[in-house]
Amino acid sequence: MHPPEEPEGPASRRARLELRCRALGAVREFFSQSGFLEVQTPVRCPAPIPELHIDPIPADGWFLLPSPEVYMKRLLAAGYEKIFQISPVFRRGEVGRLHHPEFTLLEWYRLDADYTALQEDCEGLLRFVCKAVGLVGEWPHRGNRVAVEGSWGRLTVREAFSRFAGWEPSANPDQDRFDIDMVEKVEPNLGRPTPCFLLDYPASQASLARLKPEDPAVAERFELYWNGIELANGFSELTDPAEQRKRLEDALAAKRAAGGVTHPLPEAFLQSLATLPPCAGIALGIDRLVMLLTNADAIDQVTAFSPGE
């Protein structure tokens, strides 16, 4: 007699994949109830939006998109008021406990709204999804307790760095030190037990975001953290075509200097900004959300297959 074998590979992830399926259903129901239109845009495009630290994956002369943003904003410019999309996205070289080079992103956008509306959406969405999958009170994640009910934290980047890293980043724009302290000192403290918004990033770190009118040293950009994990990045969109072109040209030049993947500027996207009203948009990592809902340590545990499996 052999003892029953422990399931391996995809079979070992069944319970988590079942919860993932229910969570995705709940996401669609939430947005549908809130009057959003689900859209599908191409995953491959000739000219993605250049970002210094995100490399797209070349595909037959075009690129697999690191985010559907380039198409989503063109839909906004065409008059679609509330849209969302759940799509596979691709980022070269990102492999780790929280990263796959191909992962699932939920993006949503609102016309005539700013980043505060997106923060309300986040709270509503996560509460709705947790309820739908039967998570109430507190539950464990990686040795900590997490919860969705109760008040969510709100910290500005300035406050968080002063508190956890002992310096103030908008006064010293040291990007290198910012990234390292963010990872080592700030992130691990954020979003416990309930999620937390980290608000108002230094202007230099928000290439596609609008500057805060009352404090132009920072941009209206936020990240959502839960148990130290970065879950979403949202902002009030920059809608000034000339300013956007300049920022993208700078990003492309910096990428070229750093030896990253380069490509043409997304001209159709830049032109569409001319008719784009004020709006806000956000991207949320579905895999990481499922990790938090299923007490998973690594992204490998919540996807049917890992890269190369």
Partner: protein
Amino acid sequence: MGTVLTAGELRKGLKLEMDGEPYLVVDFEFSKPGKGQALYRCRLRNMITGIQFDRTYRSGDKFNAADMEEQEMEYLYRAGDKFCFMNTSSYEQIEVPEAQVGDAANFLTENLKVEMLLFEGRPIGIDLPNFVELRVMKADPGIKGDTASGATKPVTMETGLVLNVPLFIEEGEMLKLDTRTGAYVERVKG
């Protein structure tokens, strides 16, 4: 110089050379904060001193892979504070200082084959077989009347190692020892 590695190739278990010393990556995590740069967070252990520390690397950073090899060696003899081994493939002899041999000295007997870890040709570690056989050099007779099960007495082995064994063990006997725990396993008939 060994192979040059980039930060993107860092993995748990990788061995790096820095400032002439070998380091093992004992823990590794890829991080990418928000729209920021890729960061490679490592816990490194100096393979000679055993000292551990954390360090974060950026995508542009480059490393030399540590030039490490494992080689089977046969222990020959001890001369003062040097232990002499022979490479079983090249028959070359190598002298290893006592400090480098460490606790392995307790189990080394003539002609014992061990795996030696070499960094740039220099020995930095000795992997013993899990079990070795050593002769008892000195043992007091068991105390009469003390028959409580599990009772032990200290004996001195041919290498100088002192350990506790059952009372019935006598001088001159061969014992099988577990090198991982240093414990007595059984008496070897012979």
